[in-house]
């Protein structure tokens, strides 16, 4: 943590927009709440969760149990389902009224649809897909003016090749979206109590300019984020049949199956298995990369894994630069050897 010497001038709260998935709370939003609590403690201000829509009473208590001091419940029949225009208008008027110092949301498709719209309307700075947030200072190189106790927004850029620290020194609220799976889900405290503030939104029918006609849900059958072991396959497997080897090894290890973008595009595996910048970010205890060369977009999604074993025919493949164990060889021969030897050892 960066040590601050200056005194805090912030009076505004730290806000987290809590997304809903049908009648439940999005877990990604609760992860953000845990980080918001840490930031607020540093700034000595309150954390508030913002929730929109009907039947929010039970959910408000839930949000308090995950770390919010206060919950603003925005009510309106016109906020029943998510629409960019109505939610932007409702949240902007709440922000202008209450003046939080920080506004955060999870970088889900909904968060990435809504946050830029709000930032554009309020003309404030927004940083997308942060992987970490801190409180620190920034000195303007031109004016020499030092800004204390501001939000440091840390995110990868250039396809994960650099890590940038971004600040919004002048505009408020300081806005950021946070990549899913980057923050720890806070422990739930069922005894926690807080304030619930109900606000009737002045949204009108005319503010809803898009309509949702139909929704097709894909059940999350794979749980990559929580898996302690992942066996992942890439284009090096060559065929859909060979990808079956990855599944066999995963079954033996009690692991989940992961895939690279290239393997998904080639039809070896379903989209829900995709790991990397456009897929899911994972950090299992053990990651076994089979026939994966290691495009930065993939590495960005798994390089935090505890132990990485890479199997690839090309000794120059970038995956070896982040691996703990490297096997230069053909996956079609190496995986059967892994299966055979593991069976012998676990007997």
């Amino acid at each position: 943590m960066i040590k601050d010497t200056g005194k805090s001038k912030q009076t505004g709260e730290v806000w987290v927009f809590i997304q809903r998935y049908e009648k439940e709370l999005e877990e990604a939003s609760l992860e953000v709440l845990g980080k918001a609590r840490q930031l607020a403690e540093k700034l000595q201000v309150a954390v508030a969760g913002i929730i929109v829509g009907e039947h929010s009473e039970g959910l408000a208590q839930h949000i308090i149990e995950y770390g919010a001091h206060r919950v603003y419940v925005l009510n309106s029949v016109y906020l029943r389902g998510y629409t960019s225009s109505a939610y932007t208008k409702a949240l902007c008027s709440l922000i202008e009224d209450k003046k939080p110092s920080i506004m955060l949301m999870a970088a889900t498709p909904q968060g990435r649809d809504l946050a830029p719209r709000i930032a554009s309307k309020l003309r404030v700075g927004l940083t997308a897909d942060c992987t970490d947030l801190r409180i620190g200072s920034y000195t303007d190189p031109k004016t020499g003016k030092k800004h204390n106790n501001i939000l440091l927004q840390i995110r990868p850029a250039w396809g994960g090749n650099v890590i940038a620290t971004i600040v919004n020194p002048q505009t408020r609220p300081q806005m950021a979206t946070i990549r899913e799976g980057m923050m720890k889900l806070p422990a739930r405290n069922r005894a926690a109590r807080g304030e619930v503030v109900h606000i009737q939104s002045d949204i009108e029918r005319a503010d809803i300019i898009t309509t949702i006609l139909q929704q097709q849900h894909v059940a999350r059958t794979v749980n990559l984020k929580q898996a302690p072991i992942i066996v992942a396959g890439g284009a090096g497997l060559g065929t859909k049949e060979n990808f079956q080897l990855v599944r066999e090894l995963a079954r033996l290890f009690g692991a989940e199956v992961g895939a690279t973008r290239a393997a998904v595009d080639a039809g070896f595996s379903g989209h829900e298995h995709q790991i990397g910048q456009t897929g899911i970010t994972v950090r299992p205890k053990l990651y076994i990369a089979c026939g994966i060369s290691g495009a930065v977009q993939h590495l960005a999604g798994m390089e935090e894994s505890g132990r990485i074993v890479a199997i690839n025919t090309d000794p120059e493949a970038p995956i070896f630069s982040i691996a703990h164990y490297g096997i230069v060889g053909d996956v079609r021969e190496v995986i059967p050897k892994l299966i055979r030897n593991y069976r012998i050892l676990s007997h």
């Binding site: 498709p109 930032a119 404030v124 897909d129 090749n161 890590i163 949702i212 006609l213 849900h217 999350r220």
Partner: protein
């Protein structure tokens, strides 16, 4: 012409081309080794526009904001069949963040006049922010539909699209005009047409001309790329470039993909047996 479509495109360093050769000895990225390309998802947006043109009839204008060399992607757009291209360039636009960029682009769109659809890629591969599309839509005060995978129906006043929203798919409808951000699952962008390459390969923007000429001979042949700066857009320089950008970069650190303990394992039964024993001893399987 039935629909008026504007496609927003960006020239980006090809961050997908990072190979061992693009890495320096210290494990950091050699940025200059990366070629400049048409942002991949903007090509999907362009393809979607071209398909609308073929099916319903449309005029397509592609706008890019960037240095004079970004005119290369406008030629790429011409090679694929767009009707008009505009380069938005000015030194005062340099260092624009997404908010300042959206201020300039939305002003350029207003300068074009009336339109039915604004299409852009979901995100650019250099920053991956996915912010400029929605920020432009807000400045234009129009609808937005993000993460679009497919157009279901397009009528004179209304559009319905399938959106790819992580938990599944969503069919959403909006009145025109609307801004769509298009994902790479939408289509397979077409290659340039050889005939159009022959026709447009000498198209240049004025600031690309090194001879200091006015480009009059190119203009006469329809080969002068339209070019707008802050003055011709009538935009306040205070809302663009660094002065119009609320965000500041405090620090940039290169990611060093090196330095972990690395152990090479032989692809033999002995080697693999040894590896598995080590992993078991480290409790990796527990």
């Amino acid at each position: 012409m039935k629909y008026s479509i504007i496609v927003l495109a960006k020239q980006v360093p090809d961050t997908t081309a990072v190979t061992a050769r693009a890495m320096k000895k210290d494990g950091t990225l050699n940025r200059t080794a990366l070629p400049a390309v048409f942002n991949p998802e903007d090509l999907n947006a362009l393809e979607m526009a071209l398909q609308i043109k073929e099916r319903f009839g449309a005029s397509i204008c592609t706008i890019t904001m960037g240095p004079p060399s970004a005119a290369e992607i406008l030629r790429q757009a011409l090679y694929r069949g767009v009707d008009r291209v505009v380069l938005v360039t000015d030194r005062r636009f340099a260092a624009s963040d997404t908010l300042a960029t959206s201020a300039v682009l939305s002003r350029a769109i207003q300068q074009i006049g009336t339109f039915d659809l604004v299409l852009c890629g979901r995100q650019a591969i250099d920053g991956n922010t996915a912010q400029v599309g929605p920020q432009v839509a807000e400045k234009l005060d129009i609808n937005q539909l993000t993460y679009v995978e497919k157009i279901e129906q397009l009528h004179s006043e209304k559009i319905s699209v399938w959106r790819d929203v992580e938990r599944g798919k969503e069919l959403a409808a909006a009145k025109l005009p609307v801004l769509l951000t298009v994902t790479d699952r939408a289509n397979l962008p077409r290659p340039p047409s050889a005939k159009k390459i022959m026709h447009y390969k000498k198209a240049r923007a004025k600031s690309e001309l090194t001879d200091g000429g006015t480009g009059a001979h190119r203009a006469a042949k329809g080969l002068l790329v339209e070019e707008w700066d802050a003055d011709s857009l009538g935009i306040d320089p205070a809302v663009c470039g660094l002065s119009g950008s609320p965000t500041r970069v405090k620090k940039i650190e290169s990611v060093i993909r090196k330095g972990k303990t690395f152990k090479k394992i032989a692809p033999t039964d002995e080697g693999i047996n040894e590896l598995l024993q080590e992993l078991i001893q480290e409790y990796s399987f527990d």
